[in-house]
Symmetry: C2
Subunit: 129 residues, 2 copies
Amino acid sequence: MVKSQSELTAGEWAIIQAVWDNEPCAAPTIQEELEKKTGWSYSTVKTMMDRMVAKGLLRTQRIRNLILYNSVITKKEAQRGEIMRAVKRAFGGAMTPMMQFLLDSKSLTEEELNQLEAMIKSKKEKAKK
Amino acid sequence: MVKSQSELTAGEWAIIQAVWDNEPCAAPTIQEELEKKTGWSYSTVKTMMDRMVAKGLLRTQRIRNLILYNSVITKKEAQRGEIMRAVKRAFGGAMTPMMQFLLDSKSLTEEELNQLEAMIKSKKEKAKK
DNA sequence: AATAGTACTCTACAAGTGTAGAGAAAGTCA
DNA sequence: TGACTTTCTCTACACTTGTAGAGTACTATT
């Protein structure tokens, strides 16, 4: 239940997504990758990455003259953190109301509903075992 | 689909929840209400509230010497905003992967799964009509 | 009118975040 | 070896957020 809350900012999300796709990778790689999306300069990206290292979100290894970055948290952990934040802030920490809200508010297609139903079914199967 | 993104900070969430429960209400009321939870002083609360007015999250009306606050956005809108932020950041905007994640990661009880299933069923009924 | 209480205004500050320029260091090629 | 390229380091700045003190204004009461 307790989680060492990895809450990422919008900028950190952008960075870490690129890292997940490329790790181990150098800062310039990430900068190039994000160029189109964000327009960030090299300095911007590098600064953010180094701050993320300080925070324990990324880790570096130096090979001669090059610094390679790796992610410390997995995508799943980060996603979980993001969801936990939302559910904590907006739904007082209660999961099912949030699920309900999602079902109610979002116009899910028939297709998606079927998918969900299937997911639930298999989930229940598994639980039964 | 497009939404004038109401993204609230943690502090703003605390404030606006109290406002929803009391509006129209004066700043001291909110401060008293949040005292236990947050320990914030009057100045802190007032400052945040006024910033939220500047941002268009709250609205004021002055009655003689007293300033009354009202929320501009509804709880549903704010909840929606919070979820949209999560889904946008962590799931590239795709709803179903997020739902799936929720089903997978969270150990929902049999009970909760049944509830969800029922929700989906009634949702599908409604869609059919 | 002087006092006390209540609510408001103004100002401030530290930490965090987005953003980036200028310059240093090291490797590469002519 | 000098010039160029690549990557890194250092420094900085504005804006947001959390946080609050000090002082002002208005009301009610003695």
